[in-house]
Amino acid sequence: MKYSYYPGCSLERNAIAYHRSAMAVAAPLGIELAEIQDWNCCGATEYFSVDLLPAYSLVARNLALAAQQANGDQVVAPCSACFLNLSKTDRYMADSPELARKINTALAAGGLHYDPGTVRVRHLLDVIVNDIGYDAVAAKVTKPLHGLQVAPYYGCLIVRPGYQGVFDDPEYPTSLDKLMRTLGAKVVDFPLKTHCCGGHMTQISQPTAYELIRRLLKNAADYDADVIVTLCPMCQLNLDAFQGEVNKYFKTDYHIPVLYFTQLMGLAFGISAKELGIGKEFVDARPALSKIGVEAPEPEAPRRRRRGKKELPMPSMPEEE
């Protein structure tokens, strides 16, 4: 099965573990992912808050580039926000000829064109459970995750609102549950599985964001989850990197590692923890993974490399023209 691949900015660095583990499990499942040449940021939610037409045009450049590629009729996006923006732009162009005309006028300034309906945008989970199927996944399992209790966290955008159709229930999806069971894990009940992690609210209003994160952690802890399994870089960052902050804020003591679903697939396939990017999480996953006999690597040591003067962690903007 061949697809175009839109990693998105997060998978380049912050969610590098997602990218690595996705690649590691795609190969044995026969999923070929060809990265869209020179793709750009999808604009997250920020672009749409300020200026709509540039926001849609920004996204449409990626669709136009994908359409030029071999196997560009289907694009796989592992990040739920990228998945939403790409599918939404295609859908809105199809629904509104006037919007499509304007976007194409903008694209033409860069020598590009996009006809809505050309590209079908797929989330990586959708591709794995529906194109590859549970049986094919089960056939690759060599080290089943028996004894590991996982809380399947879908977040928002993978099932809502479904601009190019939905592959699972928007209120109570089950595909990730079933995938985890296929790997041998025990799936705990997780009523808040599609509740919001707070998105960028951590930057806007900490009380709002931390409360949403606390609820999710509490829900997973109440149902005895060893691990929260996620499929979105933003969800992973909020639940994992902010878990310590949330503990400080509410005087709680949660220690629930948050791993990508592809990392757990990789472990079940017998791929090494290091290759799957395990160790990059803030909340140490080793205690949980020891339950399934996984020798997880030591958390990453700092990268030692010489730094040029230009690389001091104080970014400067390009000169104003």
Partner: protein, 193 residues
Amino acid sequence: MAGSATPARVATFLEEVIAATPGDPHLELCLQCGTCGGSCPSGPDMDHTPRQLFAMIAAGLKDEVLRSNTPWYCVSCYYCVARCPQEVHITDVMYTLKQMAIREGLYRESSAAEVPEFSETFIDLVENYGRSFELGLATRYTLRHHPLNVVKMAPMGLELLRKGRMDLTPKRIKGLDQLQAILAKARELGGAA
């Protein structure tokens, strides 16, 4: 209505919002049932629930609506959209209101006055590199708007760096000129509805 015999009527605020939203947002169909506010993760911290805001829009309370922190507290989770019995495109309406608040300068009077600055910092970086740049976003936004938070946020930033989860330098796409030409044209055309 050019060429018609009846004098032109000034559009109501409701009509303005609908016209500025791509596609048909069905906003005039709102039944005031409250499903949106009840489903909203940040509802408790909003000045007005989405339902209240839609009633205010229908009542023509433009300034009050554009001063509300509600659109800025929308996290784009689409819970309300999935559940709305009238299929109102609530998230899109919120985006429209954010842009109106920026245009009219009224966002500065809301309790979420710094949010557009966060968004604009993000956009600046994307327009200069073609990719988002988390370190640049965090440092520029925090230094400019919450300098005291630098100390608070630093440990997380350092940890991300240590784990190889943050770049020190931005990545630049090859087709940056092409992207900038597209964005400049889009801005020149204006409006997405």
